[in-house]
């Protein structure tokens, strides 16, 4: 099917200074990645949740994130063709589209977002945290690249707590398996003080990130914590956590956001500063990337700001107090992996969303259910009802996909959102209690 969007001359997208800085960082990273092998650097592919960037850096490895590549393909509208390519080669239409986008991209020459070929990984660091698909994804990549694959299992936080057995298991894996294998692949000896130094830097940036995320408690919120939030988490969820670059970026971002707050300004959108904040929402679930701008516009056109989201916690939940701790380097990595959003039990996820609605004084919850992501999606209908029950605030459910354009129906989503906003209005005026 052809996209329904009418062709209009591209409009200048408004970007704030932090976005430009991030753009420059990302471009630099992709260039480093593309030229890694020419420059004698080795590449480790790994995942965003359970991302051990500090450890990866200890071995001078360049961090490559197939999930982020899939997002980039989605934003650039290439993922649709990649997914079809993967399906043609035998992958099921039912499974995670990140995987298929990645595999399709590989089949079509593995061209990265900067137009240059991405290098084959020298090692797959399979950090198995919060999503079953990770395991199969890297088994699939291993079949192609035939490179060493290092496995790190994060037990699931099913009972809402971290037990000593879980920590010991993870630390043992790190000590006895992950670190020795990374030494072998990289030829670099592990230096725990180097790790500590990176962890110290991580914590610094994490402080500033939390300040940025929590600025949304302000009215109006100076940020959008979902659409904008996705940009804010970019460096820290990716290859920059533990670097000076990340420290600079988050300090800079924080200053920028605090400045907006002082001026009483709303979030920056691609069409400029949002005018009036009419609705404050909490969003659960990943966004759609193939129509990201269009999706976002449906919110800001209506004056809806997302004040908190769960998706921006997939690479770490810092706002509930966790910080990387240089004094307990391996344990802290374990705790980090254990705490990522998708590794939390359903009751924990519900608590978190309820807490956001209350703390951020939101009007309600919106769930974007992703067709191909069981980790997020299985159970969301119960989450919705439970959050509604516990907060007394209305919730709504929309469906799309991360990077598969076939599952983005703009008209349906727009309708849903419009009736949702009406519901919020009714609730406010005390009429629609049963809505």
């Amino acid at each position: 099917m052809r996209p329904t969007a009418v062709k209009t001359p591209p409009k200048e997208v408004i970007k704030d200074a932090s976005m430009l800085k991030q753009k420059e960082m990302m471009a630099r990273h992709y260039d480093r990645l593309a030229n890694a092998h020419e420059n004698g650097e080795k590449v480790a592919s790994t995942f965003v949740p359970g991302n051990l960037n500090e450890l990866v850096m200890c071995f001078d490895l360049v961090n490559n994130l197939p999930e982020v590549n899939a997002i980039q393909s989605g934003l650039r509208r290439q993922s649709g063709a990649y997914i079809m390519e993967a399906e043609r080669s035998g992958h099921s239409e039912d499974v995670c589209t990140y995987v298929k986008s990645d595999i399709g991209m590989m089949a079509k020459g593995n061209i990265g977002p900067n137009g240059k070929k991405l290098p084959n990984p020298d090692v797959l660091l399979l950090s198995y945290t919060g999503c079953f698909t990770f395991m199969k994804w890297f088994e699939l990549l291993r079949e192609q690249y035939k490179c060493p694959t290092i496995f790190l299992q994060t037990p699931y936080m099913a009972d809402g707590k971290v037990t000593p057995n879980m920590i010991q298991y993870m630390v043992k894996q790190l000590k006895e398996d992950v670190i020795p294998k990374l030494e072998e692949v990289s030829g670099v000896k592990f230096d725990i003080d180097r790790l500590r130094e990176y962890l110290r830097k991580s914590a610094k940036a994490e402080d500033d990130l939390v300040a940025v995320l929590q600025s949304a408690k302000n009215k109006p919120s100076p940020i959008d914590a979902y659409f904008g939030g996705i940009y804010y988490i970019g460096p820290i969820f990716g290859a920059f956590r533990g670097t000076d670059d990340a420290i600079d970026y988050y300090r800079f971002l924080r200053e920028e956001v605090e400045e907006r707050m002082r001026k009483g300004l709303g979030p920056v959108t691609p069409d400029g500063t949002m005018k009036e904040e009419k609705y404050r929402l909490v969003v659960e679930g990943p966004p759609n990337y193939t129509n990201f701008r269009q999706f976002w516009k449906m919110f800001y056109d209506e004056g809806a700001t997302v004040v908190a989201s769960s998706y921006t916690k997939v690479g770490g939940t810092y706002d509930f107090g966790f910080r990387h701790d240089p004094d307990r380097p391996l344990e802290t990595l374990a705790e980090y992996c254990l705490g990522v959003y998708t590794n939390r039990s359903l009751p924990m996820r519900i608590d978190m969303l309820v807490n956001y609605i209350n703390e951020y004084e939101a009007d309600g919850l919106l769930i974007n259910s992703i067709k191909s992501c069981n980790s997020f999606s299985a159970g969301q209908l119960l989450i919705m009802r439970e959050v509604e029950k516990r907060t007394g605030k209305p919730a709504a459910f929309i469906e799309s996909d991360l990077v598969d354009p076939r599952y983005f129906s703009a008209a349906n989503i727009k309708n849903r959102l419009e009736s949702y906003f009406q519901m919020v209005e009714q609730k406010r005026s005390g009429k629609g209690a049963a809505a």
């Binding site: 995987v99 079949e143 496995f151 699931y156 298991y169």
Partner: protein, 391 residues
Amino acid sequence: MTHQTTQEIVARAQDLYEDLHFTAARKWKEAGEGRKVIGYMPVYIPRELIHAAGMLPLGIMGGGDNLEVIHGDAYYQSYICRIPRSTIELGISGRLDFVDGMIFPSICDVIRNLSGMWKMLFPDVYAKYFDVPQTYEDEVGGTFYEGEMKEFLHDLEQIGGRKVTDDDLRNSIEVYNENRRLVRELYALRAEVPWQAPASEAYLIIRAGLVLPVEEHSQMLRDYIAAARAEKRPIKDNAKVVVTGMFCEQPPLNLIKSLELSGCYVVDDDFMLVSRWLIGDVPLEGDPIHNLAQAFLHHSESTAAKYEPDLKEKGQFLVRSVRRTGAEGVIFAAPSFCDPALLDRPMLQNVLKQAGIPFIAFKYAENSGQMQPIREQAGTFVDSIKLWSAA
């Protein structure tokens, strides 16, 4: 020695299979003061622990095609498999109201999230997500797994109000060793003379093991094996195939029958892996928890829900199964939207291609009604296998 016919034994197993009120398990519970029943989902849990605590492990494989799902659909989007919604249906409709605990093994994100949903929906019932190691070194995955089992055992002691001794555990291991031996004997018999023990019958007999006390089930297996050996049944010109991908959500019984009707002898499968997950006997001497952990790490079946650390080993279990049973092809049958089965499939198919083993693939749901397309596809596959082997 009983003298039941296969028909009689299968009829009893079929009754158990169709009984979505789990009357047999209810009766077992009522027959003794303080008896407890612990439900579990696919693929594997160490049932020995539950047995040793004096409780009945009850396998819940969803609702199948006989259950009308009324409430369950309100909990799941259309793009999620069927088994969690029909299991919720079983719970909400009161069919599991006698169950004292539910165990959700670590198989995929759907079952994992269901464990949390169960806690919310049935707050008064013990619900546990049972994590297993995906790393297989003794000191690492082994230690973790022993810890998880001890935690589980501790919970069972709380529920049952009594300590479980090592001897209790050894006794249970022995009882399950015996059951696994018989299950394997049945599989071997079916591979050898599939017309004597058809897959649809073997399925029901194994399935009965999920709801019966293990001792009773072992007797059923003995009876069936003896009866199947003794009877003379007609040999058909069928092709031997291995079926894979059915380890969690179950196909309707009709699907297995349809495969047989279309000319397949199903000589190996991955149905109800819990009944033969551990390969060979678990030793009785020494620390029983350690022994169970060792068996899990080093002598257990392969499936998509498990990480395969060795690239060279990936999918070889399927090739070995084909060689062992003399099968001529493989049928990939996976539940719709089943991540583990469907993500694994291309890798397994590549392994089969390299080994020159033909295969076909289709999807099903536990409530699939239309068997015609599957029958046609399987029939064509059988024809092509025969042509191929005649050429």
